[in-house]
Amino acid sequence: MSHAATEQHDVVIVGGGGAGLRAAIAIAEENPAFSVACVSKVYPMRSHTVTAEGGAAGVIKPSDSLEDHIYDTISGADWLADQDAVEYFVHRAPEEMVQLEHWGCPWSRMPDGSVAVRPFGGMKIERTWFAADKTGFHMLHSLFQTTLKYGNIVRYDEHFATKLLLDDAGRCRGCAAIELRTGTVRAVLGRSVIICTGGAGKAFPFTTNGAIKTGDGMAMAYRAGVALKDMEFIQYHPTGLPGTGILITEASRGEGGILVNKDGRRYLEDYDLGEALDVSDPRHPQKRAMELGPRDKLSQCFVKEMWAGRTIRTKDGEVVHLDLRHLGEAKIDRRIPFVRELARNYAGIDPVHQPIPVRPVVHYVMGGIDVNSESATDIAGLYAAGECACVSINGANRLGSNSLTELLVFGAQAGRNAARFAMENPDLELGGLESQARDEGERIRRAYFSAGARRAGSADGGGASERIAVLRNELHEAMEDGAGIYRNQESLEKTCDKIAELKERYANVSLDDHTNSFNTELTAALELSSLLDVAETIAHSGRERTESRGSHQRLDHPDRDDDDFLAHSLAFRTEDGGAPRIEYRPVTITKWPPGARTYGADSGLKREAEGSGTGGPSAADGNTE
C-alpha cells in the first residue's frame, strides 16, 4: 500500500448513492465556493439505490394529508420511530419530490400532466410517486446526472474508504480511502464528513441487496465510537424470488396482486389483516389491509403458513404464490414491466400467465449509525444519511416507499448541516490527519500483505488458513439460523457466540492476491470485516431486546413491552473490540401515544368509508404512463 498526496476539500461525503448525491447537490448549490468530495467504492450509478423499484412516498394529492403520512409511518414503525423526526420528514417530503421532478426524474403521470401516485403497504391512502417500477434507478440517475452540472463536486470513484480521520479536538475531518486502480491509500480531508454508504443486507445469505451492501460506513462509524442504533430491526420483504432473492416490488400488490398458499387461499385473511375482497371488487386492493399490510407482518405470516405446512415446496425452498394474472397483460406492461422482465429472466415464468413463486427476503436495515434529527452523530463534524443512518423514522419496521424519500430529505439536510459545520470550523490541521491515513495504509498492508500475514494465513504457518468465502458463508448461516424473522434467546446466543468465533478466525484470513492494482479480494476481506462488526451488533441488540416489536419477533417474548422497551438500542464498540455494550435511549413521542397496531377492518379507514373511493385517482386509471 503506497501513499498519495493528501486531497483537501470542504466537505467529504462517503458514498455515492441517492443520499450521498443529494447531499452533494445541497452543498454545491448553496455554497458555490465550497469543494465537495464524493468518495465511493463504485461509480455512483452502480449504487444500490438503483435497484429500488416501487416508489417514493410524498403527500401531493388533495385526497391525502401530512397527518396520514405521519400516522402511517409511526404505526408502521410499531411506535419505535422518533416522532419529531417523522414530522420533519413528512413535511419536507413533497418539496424534495418536486425538486427531483425538476431535476428530470421521469415520474409516471396522470392525463392532466400531474404526477401519478400508487398505494403501498401500510398506507391509508395512495401517496407513492413512481417511475413505472424502476423508481430507484430513475432517481439515482437523475441525481447523478444533476451532479455533473457542478464543477465543485469532485468524485473519487472506486475509492474504498476504510477509516474516519479525527483531529485532536475530536472533530471528524475526512477519511482514508484506497484508490482501487492503484492500491494507493489516500487521505481525503474536509472540514466535515457525511457517511451515506447504505445498508448491510449482505450479512445474510438470502437478500435483495447487491454485493456492495456490506455495512462499511456503519462499521467505520462504530469503530470511531459512534453507536449503531436499533440494529436488531431487519426488514424482510415478503416477496423475493426464491434462489436469487431478486425483489418483486410491493407495487405489484399496490396494483392489485394477491398472495395465495398451496391451497389457493389468500391466507393473510387468517392473520387479522382484513377481509379477502374479490379481485373484481372495486374496493380491491384495500389499503392498510391484506396484501397491502406492512412488510413485517406479511413476512411473519409466511413463516406461520410454512409451519402449518401450507406453503409450496420448490427446489429453492418453500414459497407462496404472488398472482398477478387478473391484472392483465396491458396493465402489467404499463405499470410493472420490470416485474415481468425479472420473473421471466430469473424465475422462468411469465406473470401474465402464471403466478410468481415468492418468499420473504432480507431487504433493509432499519437501524444504523446513531444520528439525531439533524443527521448529526455524537462526533463533531460527522453526519450520516440514508439506509446507513438511523434517525429514526423507520423504527421497528420501515414503511415501503419511505426509504427513497428518506435519502432525499435527510441527504439534503445532512448536506446543509455539514456545510454549516465546515463554515464554522474552517481550520484544518493536515499533519496529524495525514499521518493517521499513512498508519491506516500500513495497518492494511501488515494485516493482509505482509510476510507475517501470509504465514499466519498459510496451512503450515502460524494458524489455520481461512478463506473469505468460508467465513462469509458461516456468518450467513449463523445470521439466518439465529437472527431471522423469528428469534429466541437460545438462537441469538448461538449467533453471538458464532460471530465471536468468526472474528477470531478472521485474523487468519488468507488472500491469494497480494498485488496493488484493483485488488477486489482485499476489498472483499475488508467488507467481510465490516459485516462481522455489523452482524455482531444485530445479534447482541436482538438478544438484549426481550420483547417483540415490528420486525423483531421473539418467540420467547411474544408481546410488545412499552414499559421497558419503548426505547432505541445503542450498540457501542468496546475497548477490546469484542461484544458491544448495549444502552437504551427513550423514543421521542410528540402527539401519537403508542397504540395497538391494527390493519384490515380496524385500521381506521375512515376516509375511504366517507367515499373518496378506494381505487384512488391513479390506481383505477388506465391512462397514466
Partner: protein, 274 residues
C-alpha cells in the same frame, strides 16, 4: 446456498496445477470458463486461463466467475453488484458478444466452454475490468441535466408533463450505462471524438424532454465535428442494448433535429430558435 452445495470439481485446467484446499473432482457435470487474465503489474501480455466450474442450470456466467473467485482463485478480478440487470456493472464479452453476465445463463452455452473477456473498445485495467474514464467524460459532455432558469424553484409544484410528452423520451431514459453499446459499435473503436451511443442517447433524452430548455446548448456539443456525425447507422448498439433504449434510433432522431438546427442557424441568430 445452492452455490455452496455445488462444491464439485475445481482446479486450473489451463495451468494443470491442483489448487490447495479446493474440493476434489466428483462426477457432477461441469462447464469450462476461459477467463481473460491481465495484470498491469506483472503481465506484459494478456492470456487466457481455464477453470472447471460446477454446472448449475440456474447459474448465470457471473455466478460462475464469483464461484471461481470465492473457491479457486481469489486473484480473478471483475466488477459486479446487483445481479438483476440494473446496476450496469457486469458487462463483459462472452464468446465474443457484449452481454450483462448477470443475465447470461450458463445453460445457453452448456456443454461448450464459455470464453469471457473484458468489453472491447475500452482500455483494460486488470482482467475483466476496463477503464471507464473516457465513457464518463462523454456522458458529462452532453450536459445530461435539466437546463432551465427555474430548475430549483419548487414553489409552483411539479412541472406538468403529459403521458404523451413523457413517452417521447422515456425509452432513452432507460440506459443503465453498462457500455455494451460501446463494445458493439464499430465507430467507437477508431473515432476518438465520437461521443458514442449511450452518451448521444442521453443527450437526446434531455432534448426530447418537454420540461427542458437546454436543447440548443446541448446541440452545440452534439453537432461538433465527429461527436455524432461519425455514426454510420450500423445499429449494433440497439441490438446489444439489454434495456431496449435504441440508441441508434436516438442518434437518427438527433441527426434530423441537428439538420434543422443547422438550417435555422442560417436564417436566425444562434440560439434564437431553441
Amino acid at each position: 446456498m445452492s452455490k455452496e452445495r455445488a462444491s464439485a470439481s475445481a482446479g486450473r485446467v489451463g495451468s494443470g496445477e491442483q489448487v490447495a484446499g479446493s474440493p476434489v473432482a466428483t462426477d457432477e457435470r461441469t462447464i469450462t470458463l476461459e477467463l481473460f487474465r491481465y495484470h498491469p503489474e506483472t503481465d506484459a501480455e494478456p492470456r487466457f486461463q481455464s477453470y472447471e466450474v460446477p454446472y448449475n442450470e440456474d447459474w448465470v456466467v457471473l455466478d460462475a466467475i464469483n464461484w471461481i473467485k470465492d473457491h479457486v482463485d481469489g486473484t480473478v478480478t471483475h466488477r459486479w453488484s446487483c445481479r438483476m440487470g440494473v446496476c450496469g456493472s457486469c458487462g463483459m464479452m462472452v464468446n465474443g458478444e457484449p452481454v450483462l453476465t448477470c443475465a447470461a445463463f450458463l445453460k445457453s452455452y452448456f456443454p461448450f466452454a464459455v470464453r469471457v473477456e473484458p468489453l472491447v473498445n475500452f482500455p483494460v485495467e486488470r482482467d475483466l475490468v476496463v477503464s471507464m474514464d473516457g465513457f464518463m467524460d462523454k456522458l458529462e459532455a452532453v450536459k445530461p441535466y435539466m437546463i432551465r432558469d427555474d430548475v430549483n424553484d419548487t414553489s409552483g409544484g411539479e412541472f406538468r408533463q403529459s403521458p404523451a410528452e413523457l413517452a417521447k423520451y422515456k425509452q432513452f431514459s432507460m440506459c443503465i450505462n453498462c457500455m455494451l453499446c460501446y463494445a458493439a459499435c464499430p465507430v467507437v473503436g477508431h473515432e476518438e471524438g465520437f461521443l458514442g451511443p449511450a452518451a448521444l442517447a442521453l443527450g437526446h433524452r434531455y432534448n426530447k424532454d418537454s420540461r427542458d430548455h437546454g436543447r440548443s446548448e446541448r446541440m452545440d456539443v452534439m453537432l461538433s465535428d465527429e461527436a455524432m456525425w461519425g455514426c454510420t447507422f450500423v445499429g449494433e448498439c440497439s441490438v446489444v442494448c439489454p434495456k431496449h433504449v435504441d440508441p441508434a434510433g436516438a442518434i437518427q432522431q438527433a441527426k434530423a433535429m441537428g439538420a434543422q438546427e443547422y438550417f435555422k442557424a442560417f436564417v436566425m441568430p444562434k440560439g434564437a430558435g431553441a
